[in-house]
Symmetry: C2
Subunit: 195 residues, 2 copies
DNA sequence: TTCATTTCTTCACCTAGGTTAAGATTCCGG
DNA sequence: CCGGAATCTTAACCTAGGTGAAGAAATGAA
């Protein structure tokens, strides 16, 4: 069992999960290595998996008619990803999810997820807490986003996720912050100059 | 047991929950009638309860230094509300929650919530799905918000929540849409004129 | 019913950030 | 190592929506 996943589970549920539960859970996953720019989930389609990132990074985004992307979430190794709207509610996905680097991923299908919830005690709790944390993060984001200028949002983001800055193209960060890439350039230029 | 709560639970868990589980769950709540403008949760404090609205409406918002409010969520009878960031993670609340009308509320404390998760089978599943739905709604909101003009956001909101329009002051709706109240007036005026 | 408070509207003016276009860099496959 | 594609920067101009101020309308307590 991957150390990363093991730690992630222990930390999330908050008590020592016995191997007798961890083993059958781990056996429901399969692993896959993917190239950069592999599309995991597509807007408009059912998202049949939830993924655990062993290595690499992904971006969740939506695309408008003209095809440009607005990032809604970045993830790196140790994160769970999915179009949770689609995966949990079995509706059409709102987002695309795409790898930003060569990435190793564990796949858990919806069917196996539901089986695990029914048969392995810690799983229901694990996913409850996982979605609670995801919800808390979104609420936090909404609270902070609406109230701050683009410059402040950029500074917050850079301070909060310094490890993202070097691994994610700047135009995607701009879209995440809700501004045009040119505007982010302008802001960065201004900040660099006035220092 | 309130019909509204009963239906809400059955619909959420997706199977018939036996009375032997519903009764002890219901007994963990207490009910309270509150005046308009009662504050249930406060930014910066722990939010110790999750509430079920039997009747009335509430607004979750945050306030900046100058004291003006930005609404992040409106709720009416049949909804669950809390500062879920605070309630589930035991951190300081991000938002205020305040009644908009005279409102009847069921209170479930954090302690009772955790007890229920441990001892009553359907509860863990119920709250997993509840937070999943809340997360899905936030993701949907973020996806739609960032990509549309203020006018389009207003039309979406009015179309999606027509029952809110008459019960919620317009300046709060404006703040929810991320615009100044004057701008919402301007937009409404324009729409009314051009029709 | 009346006065005070809260909410909504209108208008003139302003600015953050969008848009378009072009050139500069960086990256990457062959 | 080279050439094309992707990414980033700069600059001139534009616009959606913010701001401030004032009055109109609605609400509600006495």
């Amino acid at each position: 069992m991957s150390q990363l996943l093991f730690d992630n589970i222990q930390r999330t549920v908050g008590y020592d999960v016995p191997l007798s539960e961890l083993e059958p859970f781990r056996n429901l996953f399969f692993e896959k290595s993917m190239d950069k720019k592999t599309v995991l989930a597509e807007e408009g389609k059912r998202c049949k998996y939830i993924w655990f990132l062993e290595q690499g990074s992904t971006c969740a985004y939506y695309a408008n008619e003209s095809g440009d992307k607005t990032a809604v979430q970045f993830s790196i190794e140790g994160h769970w990803i999915s179009d949770m709207y689609s995966f949990f509610s079995d509706r059409e996905a709102l987002f695309y999810i795409e790898t930003l680097e060569p990435t190793d991923v564990l796949f858990l299908s919806r069917t196996h997820f539901e089986e695990a919830c029914r048969t392995i005690p810690f799983v229901e709790r694990f996913f409850r807490i996982l979605t609670q944390n995801a919800l808390a993060a979104q609420l936090y984001r909404i609270a902070k986003t609406n109230s701050e200028s683009a410059e402040q949002r950029y500074l917050d983001f850079a301070g909060r996720y310094p490890h993202f800055m070097s691994r994610i193209p700047q135009y995607l960060i701009a879209s995440y912050l809700g501004i045009a890439p040119q505007s982010l350039s302008r802001i960065r230029n201004k900040l660099a100059t006035q220092r």
